[in-house]
Structures are given as C-alpha cells and as structure tokens.
C-alpha cells in the first residue's frame, strides 16, 4: 500500500506537471499581446515594450513557463495583467466558494442518491422502485442550469422564500450564507443526485445478487440488515469511482450554476478572465481546476484501495 501510494503520488505530480505544460502552451495560443491589451489601442510602441518587459512576456516561452510553474509550486500565480492584483489570493477566495458549492452539491446528491437508489434497488420489482428509476432518468435529462432557472422561478421569485442569487461570506452572516446556497446546492445536487441514484441502484442491485448477502441472511440477518452490514460497503466501491467522475463534472457544472446564481466562484472568475483577456488569470484558474480534477482522481484511486482489501 505504501509503495502504491508513493507510485500514485508520483503519477499525480507528473500529471500535474504535464497539465501545467498543456495549459501554458494552450494559453500561449491566445491571440493578443497582454501588454497591448492592457495599454489600450493608442499606446506607444515604447510603452508597450516597457510593459512587456514588466510583465515578462518578452522572454522566451520556456523561460516564461519555468517562471510561472516555479511560482505555482510555491503557490504564486503571478500578477494579473489587467487588474494589477496578485492572482493567487483571488483564486484562493474563489476556490473556497466553488468548493463549498461543489461539495455541498455532492453531499446533497449523496443524501438523495444513497437512500433513493438503495430503495429503488430493494424494491426494484414494485411500482415505487420503478418510479424512482424513471424519475432519475428524467432528472439526468435536465440540464443543471435549467434546473437552476426553474428553482429560482419557483422558490425565489414566486414563493419569495430564498434569495435568487448572490453570495454572502459565512463570516459575515452565516444564516444568509446558508440561505443563499440552498438553491445552487439543489440545482447541482438534484441533477447529480439523479445520475448517482442510477449508479447506486445498479450497484446495490448487483450486490443484492451476491452470494455473501445470502450467507449473511443464512447467519440470521434480515434482508435489510444483511444489505446494511454487508451490502452497502461493497456497493460503495463502484459508486466511489463514479463519485470521482461526478465531482469533476460538478466542478464544471458549477461554472454554469455560478452564472445563474451570481456566485463569485472560480467559474465566474474564469469567464471574466476570458472576457477581459486576463491571460495569466485564465491560465491560473484552468490550472487549478485541472489540478483539482487530478487530485480528485488520486483520492478516488486511493479510496478505492482502502475500501477494497483485494487491491491492497
């Protein structure tokens, strides 16, 4: 296990490094000189040249990359060409918001999917179980942003029960923070929950056919007890894999949901960066998102091993 962990950690670092190269190379393709953009259309060539050297964009790409990557390793994302503000703290703030959004959505999805999926599997022969299956299929077919729009329409605009958007830092007002996040969490969680419900259902269904569940019942457990004690942990193995994929999907789904709910998260920062041609900012945000996905994959792989002694 330790060997595996070391090896897998190595892969994570190597992938992250490779991702950094890809992201940097991709951004280098962006048309437009940041210095020219920053100075506007009627800047003098001297001023542009000066700013270029100030930004460091007049250096060879390799040098620029090493400088950037070296900074990243120390948590320094550089200074924005557009706002003149250091990028790291911005990303830090936004990452916190997005993380809360995504993790909350995930938890909600799990809270929906585990009971519903298990129930649907246990009762897969009766109407209610089938109804859950159909509902989850329908849930998958609805884009998250549409769910968000509808939720706002119903709960914020019509019922006036919750805010339609915005984000209040938890330190400022915990109650408002929570109220503001309910609908975004729901729009992410409902759709992801629908997807996850199907996986949970099929995993539980698979487990229910396993011989060891019959063994457990032969020991004197009831059907529910056997499933609880022996089934769910086994069923969690395929679900954890899917969960990893879903987290990555959620991270991106958050971009859209942030737009719908006016939440200042990473997605908002990314789209702003693109619109403002804030090259270094976009580069930093993309890198963080990609690294997050890689990290999630790493965690899932390790969790997989921890859950399943056969792989240790």
């Amino acid at each position: 296990m330790t060997l595996y962990l070391v090896k897998r950690l190595g892969v994570l670092l190597a992938s992250t490094a490779a991702a950094a190269v890809v992201v940097f190379a991709f951004m280098a393709l962006l048309p437009g000189d940041p210095a020219e953009i920053a100075l506007g259309v009627n800047a003098t060539p001297e001023a542009v040249a000066e700013l270029r050297s100030q930004f460091g964009t007049d250096r060879a790409p390799v040098v620029q990359f090493l400088d950037w990557a070296g900074g990243l390793a120390q948590g320094d994302f550089g200074t924005s060409y557009v706002t003149g503000a250091p990028i790291g703290p911005q990303i830090g703030d936004r990452l916190g918001v997005t993380a809360v959004l995504v993790l909350g959505g995930m938890v909600l999805a799990l809270l929906i999917a585990v009971p519903l999926g298990t129930f649907a599997a246990v009762h897969h022969r009766n109407l209610l179980g089938a109804a859950i299956s159909v509902a989850s299929q329908l849930g998958i077919a609805i884009p998250a942003f549409l769910a968000g729009i509808l939720l706002v329409f119903v709960f914020a605009v019509q019922a006036q029960a919750l805010p339609s958007g915005g984000y209040v830092p938890i330190a400022e007002n915990p109650a408002e923070w929570l109220r503001g996040l309910v609908l975004p969490w729901l729009s992410l969680g409902l759709v992801q929950g629908a997807v996850l419900t199907r996986y949970v259902r099929s995993a539980v269904l698979d487990v229910m056919r396993e011989d060891y569940l019959r063994t457990a019942r032969a020991k004197g457990r009831g059907a529910t007890g056997a499933l609880w004690r022996h089934g769910l942990r086994n069923a969690s193995i395929p679900v954890v894999t899917v969960l990893g994929l879903q987290l990555a999907t959620l991270l991106i789904g958050a971009v859209v949901v942030e737009r719908v709910f006016v939440i200042p998260g990473l997605g908002d920062l990314l789209l702003n960066g693109v619109a403002q041609r804030d090259l270094l900012l976009v580069q930093g945000v993309v890198m963080v998102l990609v690294a997050a996905v890689l990290l999630i994959n790493f965690v899932v792989d390790v969790a997989y091993r921890l859950l399943d002694p056969r792989l240790r």
Binding site: R125, E210, D211, Y212, R214, T215, A216, R217, A218, K219, G220, R221, G222, A223, R229, H230, R233, N234, L307, D308, P309, R310
Partner: protein, 307 residues
C-alpha cells in the same frame, strides 16, 4: 422416534409455475440425508425454502417443522432467529459466499454475536471454530481476507460459520462441487464428522454414498424415490433413479445401461402425470396419471418400477 425435521406437502412456486410439488420427508436427530437430482430438479429450492431464503417472487407453501417450530409460511422475523442457530447452511460457491471486504474471523464471529454472544467471546470462539474445521494456523486465518484463502479453505470457513451456534440441522448445498477432487474428499469427511443432522444436496451419487444414510431422489420438483442409500443404490425402483445410476459409475450390475435420453425440461415444462414419462423408455399411457410415492422405508413413484 420423533423426527428432527418434518416436511409435509411442501410446494414451491413462482408466479404460476410450480417448481417443487408436494414434498414430504423427515430427518431424524443425527440422521444424514442426501437429496439428489439433476439441476432444475428443485433440490436447491427445497433447501432454500427451509432456510426461508427463497429468491424474491418465489413462494413456499405446506409445512416444515424443525423440532416443533414452523419454518414455512412464518414471519421473516421469526425464521431469521432460527437461521444460523437452529439450522444452518453451507452453499455451493465458496469463492463468492464470503464478504470480500471483511476479515474472515469477523465473519465467523458475526453469526455468534447475531445470536446473542458477546463480541469478545465470539471472536475467541471464531478462532476455535476455524481450528475445528481443521484450518491450519486459525488465528492467522481469522485475520485474513477471503481473497487470501483458497477455495477449500473458504469452504471450511463457511462450515465454521454454519457450525458456530451448534445447530441441530446442517444443510449443505453442493458444498464440494467447486472444489478440487482431493480437497473434496477431506471436506466430505469433515462434514460427515461434524454435522449434527444433515441434509446434503448434490447431483453426485458417489458423494451421497459416502456421506449419507438415507437418500431422496428428486426429479421435476418431486421426490420420485426415497430410502436407505444402500438399498436405493443397489436396487433402484424408479426408472429415473435407474438411469441416474447407470450414468454414474455406480451401476449395480457393472453393465452400462443407456443413459437418460433428452434433457431436463425447463421449469413448468414437465409433462403431466409422471414427470419423467417423456424421457422414460418404459413409459406407457398409464403414466399419464401421476403415480403416488408408495412404499415403507424404500418408497418410489413409478407405474413400471425396475427390478
């Protein structure tokens, strides 16, 4: 003598298809009974119906009593108290019958804690049980995960689980089929040695011959012949038993009779009357009426018995 297990008129069906028909037999205390038949004969369903572990949608009717307690048609909550304590079962497939994520010792201990033993006590006894089923270094095995054990070892673990609460009846469903031949033999000896009373399900006549005292032959969801092993195997009366024996090496006269023609029909496709008549070389129009299982000691249900 008073029987340990009394089964009367046991039928098992799914939807409109009857899979086991009107089964009656008894097992005395300490008696080892074999239940034999090809796959699809309903023998496994019979065992599962006794355990109350029938798959969803499959229902049993009739009565089965273990020491005065009803097993069939009773609430799950009541049967589950008997499972693992009064009667227990060893399944066919040792590779998948154990939870892959749980240590072996814990799985053995579980059956004891479930029936009231303290956790610590159960753990200690689990190691003893593992030793009793002749697993070497039982303490180490207890800490192992199932995938670290061989098939034979796992089946011994299953046996340890089954024996943990000193049940009055042990049901074994093809416990050795998936094992290597050499391992099989040790396993059978072990079962014969440790079993209190035994219902042993198999398609292998030789196994029955070596373990059991009495045998029930099933075909098409019915018992077609029953009696002491020696007698049934040397003087089969039902034409199906005769065919089975012929197909095995246990032919009574050493001469090979033609094996049974055709194959076992799918559930619900058995003919009316004598269920074997469409494959029986001796069938006559008389066989369109179902024969009753008659005879004392050695009973059979056939209009045209052998010998």
């Amino acid at each position: 003598m008073s029987a340990l297990l009394t089964v009367e008129g046991l039928s098992v069906g799914a939807d409109s298809v009857e899979l086991v028909h009107d089964l009656s037999f008894t097992i005395g205390p300490g008696e080892r009974v074999g239940l034999i038949g090809e796959s699809g004969s309903g023998k496994s369903l019979t065992a599962l119906s006794l355990m109350g572990l029938l798959p969803e949608g499959v229902v049993a009717s009739g009565t089965a009593r273990l020491g005065g307690r009803d097993l069939v048609g009773v609430q799950e909550a009541r049967v589950k108290r008997l499972r693992g304590s009064e009667l227990s079962m060893v399944f066919q497939e040792p590779m998948t019958a154990l939870n892959p994520l749980m240590r072996v010792g814990a799985q053995v201990a579980e059956v004891m804690t479930l029936h009231g033993r303290s956790r610590q006590d159960a753990r200690q006894r689990a190691v003893e049980l593992l030793a009793r089923v002749r697993l070497p270094e039982p303490a180490e095995i207890a800490r192992a995960y199932p995938h670290q054990l061989s098939g034979g070892q796992r089946q011994r673990v299953m046996l340890a689980i089954a024996l943990a609460n000193e049940p009055r009846l042990l049901i074994c469903d093809e416990p050795t089929t998936a094992l290597d031949v050499t391992v099989q033999k040790q396993m059978l000896e072990l079962i014969a040695e440790v079993a209190p009373a035994l219902l042993f399900i198999t398609h292998d006549l030789a196994v029955v011959a070596s373990v059991c005292e009495r045998v029930l032959v099933m075909y098409g969801g019915r018992v077609v012949e029953s009696g002491p092993v020696r007698e049934v195997f040397t003087h089969p009366r039902h034409r199906y038993t005769e065919g089975l024996l012929a197909a095995s090496r246990l032919t009574p006269r050493g001469t090979r009779l033609p094996t049974i023609s055709g194959s076992v029909p799918a559930a619900g496709r058995f003919p009316s009357g004598c269920v074997f008549r469409n494959r029986c070389p001796h069938a006559t129009p008389a066989c369109e009426t179902a024969p009753a299982l008659t005879g004392d000691g050695h009973a059979f249900a056939c209009w045209h018995p052998a010998g």
